[in-house]
Amino acid sequence: MTTPVRTRGGGPATRRAASRRSSGEGPFRFASTGAGVVLLGVMAAIAVFLISEAIPALQANKGNFFTELIWEPNGSQVFGIAALAFGTVLSSALALVIATPIAVGVALFISHYAPRRLAGPLGYLVDLLAAVPSVIYGLWGLVFLVPFLKTPSVWLNEHLGWFPLFGGEGVIGGKTMLAGAIVLAIMILPIIAAISREVFLQAPKINEEAALALGATRWEMIRMAVLPFGRPGVISAAMLGLGRAMGETIAVALIFPATFDLSFQILTPHANSIAANIANGFGEATPIGRGALIASGLVLFVITLLVNMGARMVIARRKEYARAAA
């Protein structure tokens, strides 16, 4: 296609020929370029309108937006993001810690352990986890997981209470940070597993065969030939999962008890997140309250944007991963 060819109808040959013979070329090209620009415009507009609608509320704020724990934009007009941002970070970090090892195991299972014929359907089964709407995970967490976790939570608190995360007095179990984090982990597992799987499948076959020929066991082969190749891919997959966990709303809005404090005790009912607070607080918010929620949404947008851009840059740097990025 690089050499200019003379064609009667225009083709890709010369601009002039094209514009003379086919009036549709210009508009069509314009439309498709325009659609791409619209996408960029939407991203810019998200930032612009969130900022512009947040400013009045931030100006009315009587506390420090970044350090205040209280969230009372409707009443005393003192509100801060600290407790909510803390909850968002802690819950998604916990979810990541739970989900990543399992997802890597699932990816290895599909790519290197499962029988060739079964690998496709079994992989589809894991992908189905991603198809379940988040509100259904919320309902499942509320009705099934929260009561289910009661006994293990009490046991952990009694026997491993010295460990800061499992400590705490009083009500143990119920709507806790742990329940929310487990639901988040289930929701981000398929995306981490899917990307890791693609990356593991692209590990150079020749290295794997060389390792096996030298007498390595299957695990040794994976450790020497597959994991080093796949590590950056798994890291960026985990970061994409982190971004998704941070933005996840409805499931945690149903499970988190909506408290406003900083607590590492994941077995006690102290949990909230930016997204859950928006969903729970939106209904009865005053104009200032809505502005405050938009401001918190802006913080969430910036955090997830940074996490996602980081992940995408890791993927984009490695040409081999091009296929896995989708």
Binding site: V5, R8, G9, G10, G11, P12, A13, A18, S22, E25, F28, S32, T33, G34, A35, V37, L39, L40, V42, A45, I46, S52, E53, I102, A103, V104, G105, V106, F109, Y113, V126, L128, A131, V132, V135, I136, L139, W140, L142, V143, F144, I186, L189, A193, G215, T217, R218, G247, E248, T249, I250, A275, A279, I294, G297, L300, F301, T304, L305, V307
Partner: protein, 291 residues
């Protein structure tokens, strides 16, 4: 002693242990899926009847039995349809730009990068944006259409990515053959490239629809709640099926929880059906299937 040394016991055990862990990881991943589906089907069937599918919640108190999700089903179908009408043309055209026109230029690299970033925009932020722009800034009241706008933002990047992948699979020979016959580029795209990639694009679009059909957070901020049937997505608050499940689940009594499960069953049937049809289309047209 044989010529080839046997693998030492320690290494063999380690290999077996890892294998066990990998199988365990897979089992752990599948357990929640089975648990969720089982509970949704078991609990959902209690109220999944004709009354549920044909009645709204109008005049039904929080503790009353009965009522249904007809208004929510109508709302979801209309909102998702409108969202597709907005997102699919923009998404497919962007993919055409990325594959056919902007090959490697700065604009196309920027767009490509931000499409990736856009897939990570939290759904609640999309809802907040439409709320801030459409409802606060332009002053238009809550409506199904505002919800559709928020959903379309979530759909666009998924549609772009899948359409782009499908367009790249179209062999260059086809394009060149068309050019050689004197067909201009835009007609080549419309008459040769798009029809070739069409089934793949439809699959991607249906998966994107299935994804947004279950979104609750953006609807919460844009269509608001209603217990009545509203067939007009451009006027007045509507309901959506995921919103209905959220609303009922947050009410602390058993009749409402039963309705929430039945709504969840309806929602999961719609989403899974869309998924299945999409995969079937993909499988039916896949090159590995000899035809």
């Amino acid at each position: 002693m044989s010529a080839i040394q046997r693998i030492s016991t320690g290494r063999r055990i380690k290999d077996r242990v890892v294998q066990g862990l990998v199988y365990l990881a897979f089992a752990l991943a599948v357990v929640p899926l089975i648990s969720v589906l089982w509970l949704v089907i078991q609990n959902g069937l209690a109220r999944f009847d004709l009354e549920f599918l044909t009645h709204s919640m109008r005049g039904i108190g929080a503790r009353d039995a009965g009522g249904g999700a007809y208004h929510a089903i109508i709302g979801t179908l209309e909102q998702v349809l409108l969202a597709s009408v907005i997102a699919v043309p923009i998404g497919v055209l962007t993919a055409i730009y990325l594959v056919e026109y902007g090959t490697g230029g700065r604009l196309s690299r920027t767009i490509s990068f931000f499409v990736d970033v856009m897939t990570g925009v939290p759904s609640i932020v999309a809802g907040l944006f439409i709320f801030a722009f459409w409802i606060l800034f332009l002053g238009i009241p809550f409506s199904g259409f505002a919800g559709a706008l928020a959903l379309s933002i979530l759909m666009m990047p998924t549609v772009v990515r899948s359409a782009e992948e499908m367009l790249r699979l179209v062999p260059n020979d086809l394009r060149e053959a068309s050019y050689a016959l004197g067909v201009p580029k835009w007609r080549t795209i419309l008459k040769v490239v798009l029809p070739t990639a069409l089934t793949g694009i439809i699959t991607g679009v249906m998966l994107a629809i299935a994804r947004v059909a279950g979104e609750t957070a953006p609807l919460l901020l844009t269509v608001f709640f209603t217990d009545s049937i509203n067939n007009d997505p451009f006027n007045g608050p509507q309901m959506g099926l995921p919103l209905y499940v959220f609303d009922q689940a947050a009410r602390p009594n058993d009749t409402a929880i039963d309705r929430a499960w039945a709504g969840a069953l309806t929602l999961i049937l719609i989403v899974m059906l869309l998924n299945l049809v999409a995969r079937l289309i993909a499988w039916w047209r896949s090159p590995s299937r000899a035809r």
